[in-house]
Protein backbone atom coordinates (compact mmCIF):
# COMPACT_ATOMS: atom_id res chain seq x y z
CA UNK A 1 0.00 0.00 0.00
CA UNK A 2 1.80 3.11 -1.14
CA UNK A 3 0.86 6.52 0.13
CA UNK A 4 -2.48 7.38 -1.45
CA UNK A 5 -1.84 11.07 -0.87
CA UNK A 6 0.78 11.31 -3.62
CA UNK A 7 -1.41 11.98 -6.64
CA UNK A 8 0.01 11.73 -10.16
CA UNK A 9 -2.11 12.61 -13.22
CA UNK A 10 -4.19 9.64 -14.26
CA UNK A 11 -4.94 8.27 -17.71
CA UNK A 12 -8.53 8.14 -18.93
CA UNK A 13 -10.05 4.66 -18.72
CA UNK A 14 -11.96 3.41 -21.75
CA UNK A 15 -14.00 0.24 -22.22
CA UNK A 16 -13.96 -1.11 -25.77
CA UNK A 17 -16.70 -3.68 -26.27
CA UNK A 18 -18.30 -5.48 -29.16
CA UNK A 19 -21.94 -6.10 -28.37
CA UNK A 20 -23.94 -8.44 -30.56
CA UNK A 21 -23.07 -11.37 -32.72
CA UNK A 22 -20.88 -10.14 -35.57
CA UNK A 23 -17.35 -11.47 -35.40
CA UNK A 24 -15.57 -8.55 -37.01
CA UNK A 25 -13.35 -7.40 -34.18
CA UNK A 26 -10.44 -6.04 -36.22
CA UNK A 27 -11.59 -2.45 -35.82
CA UNK A 28 -12.16 -2.79 -32.07
CA UNK A 29 -8.72 -4.35 -31.62
CA UNK A 30 -6.98 -1.69 -33.72
CA UNK A 31 -8.73 1.04 -31.74
CA UNK A 32 -7.95 -0.59 -28.38
CA UNK A 33 -4.30 -0.82 -29.33
CA UNK A 34 -4.27 2.68 -30.83
CA UNK A 35 -5.80 4.27 -27.73
CA UNK A 36 -3.22 2.45 -25.62
CA UNK A 37 -0.57 4.20 -27.70
CA UNK A 38 -2.40 7.49 -27.10
CA UNK A 39 -1.94 6.97 -23.37
CA UNK A 40 -5.39 5.65 -22.42
CA UNK A 41 -6.00 2.70 -20.14
CA UNK A 42 -8.15 0.50 -22.35
CA UNK A 43 -10.24 -2.37 -21.03
CA UNK A 44 -10.98 -4.71 -23.92
CA UNK A 45 -13.76 -7.26 -23.38
CA UNK A 46 -13.80 -9.07 -26.70
CA UNK A 47 -16.57 -10.36 -28.90
CA UNK A 48 -20.24 -11.22 -28.38
CA UNK A 49 -21.02 -9.11 -25.36
CA UNK A 50 -24.61 -8.60 -24.28
CA UNK A 51 -25.64 -5.10 -23.17
CA UNK A 52 -25.75 -6.46 -19.60
CA UNK A 53 -22.17 -7.67 -19.87
CA UNK A 54 -21.01 -4.33 -21.28
CA UNK A 55 -22.65 -2.36 -18.48
CA UNK A 56 -21.40 -4.74 -15.78
CA UNK A 57 -17.85 -4.32 -17.06
CA UNK A 58 -18.24 -0.53 -17.30
CA UNK A 59 -19.51 -0.39 -13.73
CA UNK A 60 -16.87 -2.63 -12.16
CA UNK A 61 -14.06 -0.94 -14.07
CA UNK A 62 -15.47 2.56 -13.36
CA UNK A 63 -14.57 3.68 -16.86
CA UNK A 64 -14.80 7.24 -18.17
CA UNK A 65 -15.78 6.12 -21.67
CA UNK A 66 -17.70 3.21 -23.20
CA UNK A 67 -16.81 2.59 -26.86
CA UNK A 68 -19.06 0.20 -28.73
CA UNK A 69 -18.00 -1.36 -32.02
CA UNK A 70 -20.83 -2.68 -34.18
CA UNK A 71 -20.77 -3.78 -37.79
CA UNK A 72 -23.79 -6.06 -37.81
CA UNK A 73 -26.48 -3.44 -38.35
CA UNK A 74 -27.99 -4.18 -34.93
CA UNK A 75 -26.88 -0.82 -33.51
CA UNK A 76 -30.44 0.56 -33.26
CA UNK A 77 -31.33 -2.28 -30.87
CA UNK A 78 -28.08 -2.73 -28.93
CA UNK A 79 -26.84 0.82 -28.45
CA UNK A 80 -30.01 2.34 -26.92
CA UNK A 81 -30.19 -0.67 -24.61
CA UNK A 82 -26.62 -0.11 -23.36
CA UNK A 83 -27.40 3.60 -22.86
CA UNK A 84 -30.59 2.81 -20.95
CA UNK A 85 -28.85 0.26 -18.68
CA UNK A 86 -26.06 2.75 -17.98
CA UNK A 87 -28.64 5.35 -16.98
CA UNK A 88 -30.45 2.82 -14.77
CA UNK A 89 -27.16 2.21 -12.96
CA UNK A 90 -26.73 5.95 -12.46
CA UNK A 91 -23.85 6.07 -14.91
CA UNK A 92 -25.15 9.01 -16.96
CA UNK A 93 -21.77 10.71 -16.78
CA UNK A 94 -20.06 7.97 -18.79
CA UNK A 95 -19.29 9.08 -22.33
CA UNK A 96 -20.72 6.62 -24.90
CA UNK A 97 -19.29 6.52 -28.42
CA UNK A 98 -20.01 4.13 -31.26
CA UNK A 99 -17.77 2.95 -34.06
CA UNK A 100 -18.55 0.86 -37.10
CA UNK A 101 -20.96 1.04 -39.99
CA UNK A 102 -23.65 3.48 -38.88
CA UNK A 103 -25.91 4.94 -41.64
CA UNK A 104 -26.16 8.74 -41.46
CA UNK A 105 -29.92 8.46 -40.98
CA UNK A 106 -29.44 6.60 -37.68
CA UNK A 107 -26.96 9.01 -36.12
CA UNK A 108 -29.55 11.47 -34.82
CA UNK A 109 -31.55 8.69 -33.15
CA UNK A 110 -28.42 7.29 -31.50
CA UNK A 111 -27.48 10.74 -30.19
CA UNK A 112 -31.03 11.03 -28.87
CA UNK A 113 -30.47 7.73 -27.05
CA UNK A 114 -27.37 9.12 -25.34
CA UNK A 115 -24.47 8.55 -27.72
CA UNK A 116 -21.96 11.42 -27.78
CA UNK A 117 -20.43 10.61 -31.17
CA UNK A 118 -20.29 7.99 -33.90
CA UNK A 119 -17.10 7.20 -35.78
CA UNK A 120 -17.35 5.65 -39.23
CA UNK A 121 -14.78 4.17 -41.60
CA UNK A 122 -11.85 6.50 -42.24
CA UNK A 123 -11.78 7.98 -38.75
CA UNK A 124 -8.23 8.21 -37.42
CA UNK A 125 -7.20 7.03 -33.98
CA UNK A 126 -5.99 10.56 -33.29
CA UNK A 127 -9.46 11.98 -33.96
CA UNK A 128 -11.07 9.50 -31.57
CA UNK A 129 -8.43 10.18 -28.90
CA UNK A 130 -8.88 13.92 -29.24
CA UNK A 131 -12.67 13.64 -28.94
CA UNK A 132 -12.41 11.48 -25.82
CA UNK A 133 -9.89 13.79 -24.17
CA UNK A 134 -12.07 16.81 -24.81
CA UNK A 135 -15.38 15.25 -23.78
CA UNK A 136 -14.83 12.60 -21.11
CA UNK A 137 -15.22 13.54 -17.49
CA UNK A 138 -12.49 11.93 -15.40
CA UNK A 139 -13.57 10.49 -12.06
CA UNK A 140 -12.22 9.37 -8.69
Amino acid sequence: MTDVRAAPARPLKVLIAKPGLDGHDRGAKVLARGLRDEGFEVVYTGLRQTPDMVVTAALQEDVDVVGLSILSGAHMTLVPKVCRLLREQGMDDVLVVVGGIIPDDDVAALKEAGVAATFGPGTTIGEVAEFLRSNARPRG
Binding site: M1, D37, T45, Q60, E61, D62, G140
Partner: protein, 331 residues
Protein backbone atom coordinates in the same frame (compact mmCIF):
# COMPACT_ATOMS: atom_id res chain seq x y z
CA UNK B 1 -25.14 10.22 -8.86
CA UNK B 2 -22.58 8.81 -6.48
CA UNK B 3 -21.75 10.80 -3.38
CA UNK B 4 -18.30 12.42 -3.49
CA UNK B 5 -17.99 12.41 0.29
CA UNK B 6 -15.68 9.50 1.26
CA UNK B 7 -17.75 8.48 4.29
CA UNK B 8 -20.93 8.26 2.23
CA UNK B 9 -19.10 6.32 -0.48
CA UNK B 10 -17.79 3.86 2.10
CA UNK B 11 -21.26 3.42 3.61
CA UNK B 12 -22.72 2.73 0.17
CA UNK B 13 -19.94 0.28 -0.72
CA UNK B 14 -20.30 -1.59 2.55
CA UNK B 15 -24.04 -1.74 1.93
CA UNK B 16 -23.43 -3.58 -1.35
CA UNK B 17 -23.41 -0.71 -3.85
CA UNK B 18 -20.95 -2.03 -6.44
CA UNK B 19 -20.64 1.32 -8.18
CA UNK B 20 -19.53 2.95 -4.96
CA UNK B 21 -17.03 0.11 -4.52
CA UNK B 22 -15.76 0.65 -8.09
CA UNK B 23 -15.39 4.38 -7.43
CA UNK B 24 -13.38 3.77 -4.25
CA UNK B 25 -11.09 1.46 -6.24
CA UNK B 26 -10.60 4.25 -8.78
CA UNK B 27 -9.69 6.64 -5.99
CA UNK B 28 -7.22 4.08 -4.63
CA UNK B 29 -5.63 3.63 -8.06
CA UNK B 30 -5.37 7.38 -8.51
CA UNK B 31 -4.22 7.95 -4.93
CA UNK B 32 -6.66 10.73 -4.26
CA UNK B 33 -7.52 12.08 -0.80
CA UNK B 34 -10.78 10.08 -1.01
CA UNK B 35 -8.72 6.89 -1.12
CA UNK B 36 -6.92 7.56 2.15
CA UNK B 37 -10.15 8.53 3.90
CA UNK B 38 -11.89 5.40 2.60
CA UNK B 39 -9.02 3.06 3.44
CA UNK B 40 -8.87 4.39 6.98
CA UNK B 41 -12.52 3.40 7.39
CA UNK B 42 -12.26 0.09 5.51
CA UNK B 43 -8.98 -1.39 6.76
CA UNK B 44 -10.34 -2.40 10.19
CA UNK B 45 -13.16 -4.26 8.44
CA UNK B 46 -10.77 -6.19 6.19
CA UNK B 47 -8.57 -9.15 7.09
CA UNK B 48 -10.95 -12.07 6.71
CA UNK B 49 -10.70 -12.74 2.96
CA UNK B 50 -8.41 -15.33 1.45
CA UNK B 51 -5.96 -13.49 -0.83
CA UNK B 52 -4.73 -15.76 -3.59
CA UNK B 53 -2.02 -14.66 -6.02
CA UNK B 54 -2.11 -16.13 -9.51
CA UNK B 55 1.12 -15.68 -11.42
CA UNK B 56 3.02 -17.21 -14.31
CA UNK B 57 4.38 -16.47 -17.76
CA UNK B 58 2.35 -14.60 -20.40
CA UNK B 59 -0.03 -16.97 -22.14
CA UNK B 60 0.14 -19.70 -19.49
CA UNK B 61 -3.59 -19.31 -18.91
CA UNK B 62 -3.87 -17.15 -15.80
CA UNK B 63 -7.06 -15.32 -16.80
CA UNK B 64 -8.74 -18.47 -18.10
CA UNK B 65 -7.85 -20.27 -14.88
CA UNK B 66 -9.19 -17.36 -12.81
CA UNK B 67 -12.47 -17.63 -14.70
CA UNK B 68 -12.61 -21.38 -14.04
CA UNK B 69 -11.84 -20.84 -10.33
CA UNK B 70 -14.70 -18.31 -10.11
CA UNK B 71 -17.13 -20.81 -11.64
CA UNK B 72 -16.11 -23.52 -9.16
CA UNK B 73 -16.11 -21.27 -6.11
CA UNK B 74 -19.51 -19.75 -6.98
CA UNK B 75 -21.04 -23.25 -6.86
CA UNK B 76 -20.21 -23.17 -3.15
CA UNK B 77 -21.74 -19.70 -2.81
CA UNK B 78 -18.68 -17.71 -1.75
CA UNK B 79 -18.27 -14.16 -3.09
CA UNK B 80 -15.23 -13.77 -5.35
CA UNK B 81 -13.34 -10.68 -6.49
CA UNK B 82 -10.52 -10.42 -8.99
CA UNK B 83 -7.81 -7.79 -9.35
CA UNK B 84 -6.24 -8.44 -12.76
CA UNK B 85 -3.10 -6.48 -13.58
CA UNK B 86 -1.71 -5.85 -17.06
CA UNK B 87 1.38 -3.81 -17.92
CA UNK B 88 1.41 -0.08 -18.65
CA UNK B 89 3.34 1.26 -21.59
CA UNK B 90 6.65 2.72 -20.45
CA UNK B 91 6.42 5.08 -23.42
CA UNK B 92 2.91 6.55 -23.29
CA UNK B 93 1.58 5.40 -19.90
CA UNK B 94 -1.32 3.74 -21.71
CA UNK B 95 -2.36 0.14 -21.17
CA UNK B 96 -4.39 -2.56 -22.85
CA UNK B 97 -6.22 -4.41 -20.12
CA UNK B 98 -7.33 -7.62 -21.80
CA UNK B 99 -7.87 -10.09 -18.97
CA UNK B 100 -11.66 -9.79 -19.14
CA UNK B 101 -11.62 -11.32 -22.63
CA UNK B 102 -10.83 -14.70 -21.04
CA UNK B 103 -13.25 -14.31 -18.18
CA UNK B 104 -16.97 -14.75 -18.30
CA UNK B 105 -18.50 -11.52 -17.12
CA UNK B 106 -20.84 -13.10 -14.57
CA UNK B 107 -23.16 -10.18 -15.36
CA UNK B 108 -26.05 -10.21 -12.94
CA UNK B 109 -24.09 -12.01 -10.21
CA UNK B 110 -23.40 -9.35 -7.57
CA UNK B 111 -21.06 -11.75 -5.76
CA UNK B 112 -18.50 -11.66 -8.56
CA UNK B 113 -16.48 -8.48 -9.04
CA UNK B 114 -13.71 -8.20 -11.61
CA UNK B 115 -11.43 -5.21 -11.79
CA UNK B 116 -8.58 -4.62 -14.23
CA UNK B 117 -5.62 -2.51 -13.15
CA UNK B 118 -2.72 -1.11 -15.10
CA UNK B 119 0.69 -1.64 -13.48
CA UNK B 120 1.46 2.08 -13.99
CA UNK B 121 5.20 1.67 -14.14
CA UNK B 122 5.45 -0.69 -11.19
CA UNK B 123 7.78 -3.59 -11.96
CA UNK B 124 7.00 -6.34 -9.46
CA UNK B 125 4.07 -7.97 -11.29
CA UNK B 126 1.26 -6.12 -9.51
CA UNK B 127 0.10 -2.50 -9.56
CA UNK B 128 1.40 -0.18 -6.82
CA UNK B 129 -2.09 -0.05 -5.33
CA UNK B 130 -3.12 -3.72 -5.70
CA UNK B 131 -2.76 -4.49 -2.00
CA UNK B 132 -4.89 -1.49 -1.08
CA UNK B 133 -7.50 -2.52 -3.67
CA UNK B 134 -7.59 -6.02 -2.17
CA UNK B 135 -8.18 -4.51 1.29
CA UNK B 136 -11.17 -2.57 -0.07
CA UNK B 137 -12.67 -5.70 -1.65
CA UNK B 138 -11.98 -7.67 1.53
CA UNK B 139 -13.83 -5.10 3.65
CA UNK B 140 -16.75 -5.15 1.23
CA UNK B 141 -17.34 -8.82 1.94
CA UNK B 142 -15.53 -10.74 -0.78
CA UNK B 143 -14.35 -13.99 0.74
CA UNK B 144 -11.91 -14.98 -1.98
CA UNK B 145 -9.78 -12.35 -3.73
CA UNK B 146 -7.73 -13.44 -6.71
CA UNK B 147 -4.74 -11.21 -7.52
CA UNK B 148 -3.73 -11.94 -11.11
CA UNK B 149 -0.30 -10.57 -11.98
CA UNK B 150 1.01 -9.39 -15.31
CA UNK B 151 2.68 -12.16 -17.28
CA UNK B 152 5.82 -12.82 -15.25
CA UNK B 153 9.30 -14.03 -16.00
CA UNK B 154 11.49 -15.52 -13.32
CA UNK B 155 11.78 -12.98 -10.58
CA UNK B 156 8.50 -11.09 -10.14
CA UNK B 157 7.91 -12.48 -6.69
CA UNK B 158 6.08 -9.48 -5.25
CA UNK B 159 2.74 -11.29 -5.40
CA UNK B 160 3.93 -13.73 -2.74
CA UNK B 161 4.12 -10.85 -0.27
CA UNK B 162 0.70 -9.53 -1.29
CA UNK B 163 -1.14 -12.87 -1.13
CA UNK B 164 -1.87 -15.47 1.54
CA UNK B 165 -1.50 -18.27 -0.99
CA UNK B 166 0.57 -18.02 -4.16
CA UNK B 167 -0.24 -20.10 -7.22
CA UNK B 168 2.44 -20.25 -9.91
CA UNK B 169 1.30 -21.40 -13.34
CA UNK B 170 3.49 -23.25 -15.77
CA UNK B 171 2.60 -24.36 -19.26
CA UNK B 172 3.66 -27.82 -20.49
CA UNK B 173 7.12 -28.16 -22.06
CA UNK B 174 8.27 -24.70 -21.01
CA UNK B 175 11.62 -25.93 -19.76
CA UNK B 176 13.63 -28.74 -18.29
CA UNK B 177 14.78 -29.64 -14.79
CA UNK B 178 17.31 -26.84 -14.77
CA UNK B 179 14.56 -24.27 -15.32
CA UNK B 180 12.69 -25.79 -12.39
CA UNK B 181 15.80 -25.57 -10.24
CA UNK B 182 16.45 -21.89 -10.72
CA UNK B 183 15.84 -19.51 -7.86
CA UNK B 184 12.89 -17.12 -8.06
CA UNK B 185 9.26 -17.48 -8.99
CA UNK B 186 8.87 -21.22 -8.36
CA UNK B 187 10.34 -20.83 -4.90
CA UNK B 188 7.51 -18.58 -3.74
CA UNK B 189 4.80 -20.98 -4.94
CA UNK B 190 2.50 -22.54 -2.38
CA UNK B 191 0.85 -24.39 -5.24
CA UNK B 192 2.35 -25.02 -8.67
CA UNK B 193 -0.17 -25.55 -11.46
CA UNK B 194 0.71 -27.04 -14.82
CA UNK B 195 -2.10 -25.60 -16.92
CA UNK B 196 -3.12 -26.67 -20.42
CA UNK B 197 -3.24 -30.22 -19.08
CA UNK B 198 -4.73 -31.45 -22.36
CA UNK B 199 -1.52 -30.63 -24.20
CA UNK B 200 1.10 -33.32 -24.75
CA UNK B 201 3.80 -33.22 -22.13
CA UNK B 202 1.67 -31.81 -19.28
CA UNK B 203 2.09 -34.94 -17.16
CA UNK B 204 5.80 -35.05 -17.82
CA UNK B 205 6.23 -31.36 -16.93
CA UNK B 206 4.37 -31.96 -13.66
CA UNK B 207 6.56 -34.98 -12.84
CA UNK B 208 9.73 -33.02 -13.56
CA UNK B 209 8.56 -30.15 -11.37
CA UNK B 210 7.68 -32.52 -8.54
CA UNK B 211 11.04 -34.25 -8.84
CA UNK B 212 12.95 -30.99 -8.70
CA UNK B 213 10.90 -29.48 -5.90
CA UNK B 214 11.44 -32.58 -3.75
CA UNK B 215 15.04 -31.50 -3.29
CA UNK B 216 14.09 -28.22 -1.68
CA UNK B 217 11.48 -29.96 0.45
CA UNK B 218 14.15 -32.30 1.76
CA UNK B 219 16.47 -29.37 2.48
CA UNK B 220 13.62 -27.74 4.41
CA UNK B 221 13.04 -30.84 6.57
CA UNK B 222 16.73 -31.13 7.37
CA UNK B 223 16.78 -27.53 8.54
CA UNK B 224 13.63 -28.02 10.56
CA UNK B 225 15.12 -31.00 12.39
CA UNK B 226 18.33 -29.10 12.97
CA UNK B 227 16.30 -26.25 14.48
CA UNK B 228 17.90 -24.09 11.84
CA UNK B 229 15.83 -20.90 11.82
CA UNK B 230 16.86 -19.67 8.40
CA UNK B 231 13.85 -19.39 6.03
CA UNK B 232 12.89 -22.86 4.83
CA UNK B 233 11.92 -23.66 1.24
CA UNK B 234 8.21 -24.15 0.73
CA UNK B 235 6.68 -27.52 -0.08
CA UNK B 236 4.35 -26.72 -2.96
CA UNK B 237 1.80 -29.16 -4.30
CA UNK B 238 2.02 -29.67 -8.05
CA UNK B 239 -1.36 -29.93 -9.80
CA UNK B 240 -2.44 -30.25 -13.41
CA UNK B 241 -5.41 -28.24 -14.70
CA UNK B 242 -7.10 -27.60 -18.02
CA UNK B 243 -8.67 -24.20 -17.40
CA UNK B 244 -10.64 -24.21 -20.66
CA UNK B 245 -12.59 -27.34 -19.65
CA UNK B 246 -12.40 -26.97 -15.86
CA UNK B 247 -10.50 -30.25 -15.44
CA UNK B 248 -8.50 -30.22 -12.22
CA UNK B 249 -9.98 -26.91 -11.05
CA UNK B 250 -12.04 -28.36 -8.16
CA UNK B 251 -8.84 -30.06 -6.95
CA UNK B 252 -7.05 -26.69 -7.16
CA UNK B 253 -9.81 -24.96 -5.19
CA UNK B 254 -9.57 -27.72 -2.55
CA UNK B 255 -5.79 -27.22 -2.39
CA UNK B 256 -6.28 -23.46 -1.92
CA UNK B 257 -8.63 -24.19 0.95
CA UNK B 258 -6.17 -26.64 2.55
CA UNK B 259 -3.42 -24.04 2.35
CA UNK B 260 -5.68 -21.39 3.84
CA UNK B 261 -6.61 -23.60 6.77
CA UNK B 262 -3.01 -24.52 7.45
CA UNK B 263 -2.01 -20.92 8.07
CA UNK B 264 -1.70 -19.22 11.43
CA UNK B 265 -4.02 -16.27 11.99
CA UNK B 266 -3.37 -12.54 12.43
CA UNK B 267 0.09 -11.34 13.41
CA UNK B 268 1.25 -14.94 13.97
CA UNK B 269 1.20 -15.41 10.22
CA UNK B 270 4.64 -14.29 9.00
CA UNK B 271 3.25 -13.42 5.54
CA UNK B 272 0.56 -11.19 7.01
CA UNK B 273 3.04 -9.60 9.36
CA UNK B 274 5.43 -8.95 6.47
CA UNK B 275 2.61 -7.50 4.37
CA UNK B 276 1.56 -5.17 7.15
CA UNK B 277 5.14 -4.02 7.64
CA UNK B 278 5.66 -3.48 3.91
CA UNK B 279 2.54 -1.31 3.70
CA UNK B 280 3.50 0.83 6.65
CA UNK B 281 7.13 1.26 5.56
CA UNK B 282 6.00 2.17 2.07
CA UNK B 283 3.59 4.84 3.31
CA UNK B 284 6.13 6.09 5.81
CA UNK B 285 8.75 6.40 3.07
CA UNK B 286 6.36 8.35 0.85
CA UNK B 287 5.41 10.64 3.74
CA UNK B 288 8.98 11.26 4.78
CA UNK B 289 9.76 12.25 1.24
CA UNK B 290 6.69 14.48 0.99
CA UNK B 291 7.67 16.11 4.27
CA UNK B 292 11.22 16.73 3.09
CA UNK B 293 10.25 17.93 -0.36
CA UNK B 294 7.41 20.17 0.80
CA UNK B 295 6.94 23.45 2.60
CA UNK B 296 9.89 25.28 4.13
CA UNK B 297 12.20 22.23 3.98
CA UNK B 298 12.06 22.09 0.19
CA UNK B 299 15.01 24.37 -0.49
CA UNK B 300 17.27 22.85 2.15
CA UNK B 301 16.48 19.35 0.86
CA UNK B 302 17.24 20.35 -2.72
CA UNK B 303 20.61 21.76 -1.60
CA UNK B 304 21.51 18.42 0.03
CA UNK B 305 20.56 16.52 -3.14
CA UNK B 306 22.63 18.95 -5.24
CA UNK B 307 25.62 18.34 -3.00
CA UNK B 308 25.30 14.58 -3.61
CA UNK B 309 25.07 15.13 -7.37
CA UNK B 310 28.29 17.14 -7.19
CA UNK B 311 29.92 14.40 -5.07
CA UNK B 312 30.51 16.99 -2.34
CA UNK B 313 28.42 14.84 0.00
CA UNK B 314 27.94 11.06 0.03
CA UNK B 315 24.39 9.68 -0.11
CA UNK B 316 24.59 8.20 3.40
CA UNK B 317 25.62 11.47 4.99
CA UNK B 318 22.89 13.18 2.98
CA UNK B 319 20.24 10.79 4.33
CA UNK B 320 21.50 11.36 7.88
CA UNK B 321 21.36 15.12 7.39
CA UNK B 322 17.81 15.00 6.00
CA UNK B 323 16.63 12.78 8.86
CA UNK B 324 18.23 15.18 11.34
CA UNK B 325 16.49 18.13 9.67
CA UNK B 326 13.11 16.48 10.41
CA UNK B 327 13.89 16.50 14.10
CA UNK B 328 14.14 20.29 14.20
CA UNK B 329 10.80 21.68 15.29
CA UNK B 330 10.96 24.85 13.23
CA UNK B 331 10.73 22.94 9.91
Amino acid sequence: MLPSDPDALVEAALGGDRRALARILTAVENRTPTAEAALRRLYPKAGTAHLVGITGPPGSGKSTLVSAIIATVREGGRAVAVVAVDPSSPITGGALLGDRVRMQSYAGDADVFIRSMAARGHAGGLAPTSTAAAAVLDACGFDLILLETVGTGQSEVEVAAAADTTVVLEAPEMGDEIQASKAGLLEVADIVVVNKGDRPGAGRTASQLRAMLVGSVRAGRVREEAKDDRPRPKEPEVLVTTATTGDGVPELVAALERHREGRPSGADDPARRARAAAQVWSILGDRLRAELEGGTRRIATAAVLDAVAEHALDPFAAADRLLASLRTTDG
